[in-house]
Amino acid sequence: MTTIATESIKPSGAGEGPYLDVRDLKVHFTTDDGLVKSVDGVSFSIERGKTLGIVGESGSGKSVTSMSIMGLHTAKNAKIEGSIKIGDEEIVGKPIDSIRQLRGQKMAMIFQDPLSALHPFYTVGDQIVEAYQIHNKVSKKQARQHAIDMLDRVGIPEPSKRIDAYPHQFSGGMRQRAMIAMALSCDPDLLIADEPTTALDVTVQAQILDLIRDLQKEFNSAVLMITHDLGVVAELADDIMVMYAGRCAEYGTADQVFNHPEHPYTWGLLGSMPRFDKPPTERLLPIKGTPPSLIQLPSGCAFNPRCDFKERVGERCVRERPELLGDDHQIACHLPPSERQQIWTDEIAPRVK
């Protein structure tokens, strides 16, 4: 009896364990300049109803990761290794045509700039209808009604009128709502949001994040939130993965990463986040230097040229690449865990908290 009870409480379709499971993903591009290791051995997983935030600077491999989950790397020079499991389906090595069946239906994506991500020549309604009709055998009329319902659900006023508008007639926030309506039209189990608020006004950003959170609850989907904005992940994410130069620097729950971060790069990210609860006279603490070239990574730890703490470890940072270690809170750093925690509480936390 008890097993049946627990079964029925579970959301429909939810299996045991994570819905999206990525193991040791490598995405390499062969270019004229050399091998670009955009993603080099990344593992993470998301359960239904949970949100994972991937944070990192431009070029850290966030978007490449999401594109490979969608199977959108069409370039011949892309080499994808490792394992991406969605439900029970393995994406890596799957023929493109069967990945196509999953797109939209099982996994959907929201893009950064909704103006350029929506086709300028078709109405918003047509584009949602199109997305719905690929995977559902319904009449045009039904599909249209569904599109109106979706627009209503994402908070677009007068959806039965606005459905015939073109993307350029929408405001930025409306466009992103329409984009979300399109992504959710087939009730996907996995929603990938690639910088969904970057191109939007700050006031609209909060609304869109609220909307994504509400819809996630309603659809019970797994959400992968990709962003360079720590504020966004703080708002939404259950788990956070910090990426640097194609690899995972720190991976843990939102609480662990925000309140007890142990990687110098995460400290740097937290230090460069503007805060309103601090006097404006205090300066931000940007990370010095620029992200490394993915063709010629620094030897040892990829972060070592920018790291303030490498003297405390010495040679090892330049010689040996740190492995991602830890049970639920994983960090790739040569500093001993106790020393890291010490540095955080004594030196970093007072400055950024």
């Binding site: 797109r103 939209g104 109405t123």
Partner: protein, 317 residues
Amino acid sequence: MVTFAIFFMMPRLAGATPESMAVRYVGKSADPNTIQATVKKLGFDKPLHVQYWDWVTGVVAGKTIDTGAGTEECSAPCLGYSYRTYSPIMPEVKQRFPVTLSLAVGAAVIWVTFGVSVGVISALKRGSIFDRAAMTIALAGVSLPIFWTGLVSLAIFSYQLGWTAPGGSFTPITENPIKWAYDLLLPWITLALLFSAQYARLTRAGMLETMSEDYIRTARAKGLPERTVVVKHGLRSALTPIVTIFGLDFGLLIGGAVLTETAFSLPGLGQMALQGTKSNDLPKVIAVVLITAVFVAICNLIVDLVYLVLDPRVRTR
């Protein structure tokens, strides 16, 4: 304005006097009195702007022309009388127009279908052998002049192989559509080769650009089949600039494809313009220029209207 600048000013700038222009009409052996009379009759003694005004009103409202042996009515749009044959120009234009139109329409159908599809395939298979071969041929197609490709293809396909008509004949489509197409096949292909090449390059460039747009990625992310992505989302956008260029090209062609018509001895407007130029028959040349201008303008208008349908962003502005 253009006709005024070119055809009323030019003869004067080139040193022609009213008398020397009248001579073209009556012949060199005519006595001075006849020449003077002709100068008066054709209005060469009037100031240029008056001549131009006469010509414009003739086009718009028609005019009565004094032929010496009485008057003749030239109803609107009056394009005047030929200096050489003394016959009105309009009937000749009417007779020649279908030839040029047939040539232009047939060639356009071929070059648009062929050029655009080659362009799309080239863009999708960028860097492949097909792409390289197609672009090399396109480069050749753009560079080779029609009088060369025309004559060479005539020599091979008509005279050597006997597959196509030897040129010089035209059958109206209303009489015999098969003969019509047979007569025009080689001119169509020759003319289309030039344009296909240009359109293939344009389409390829346009497709390469659109296929890297964000909305193409969105279309793929929806799970659309690649065909739909390419045609409905990619080509649809890439075609817009091509429509513009097509309007211009087609309008110009209707005013006569001089080289093609000459190479294949087709009795079209282009040939008429050439004959007019060769024989100093000013009214003929002016007539063809006017027709070209009118059709370029009409085609541009059509392009603008088609734009309204193609690009919704234009509508609301």
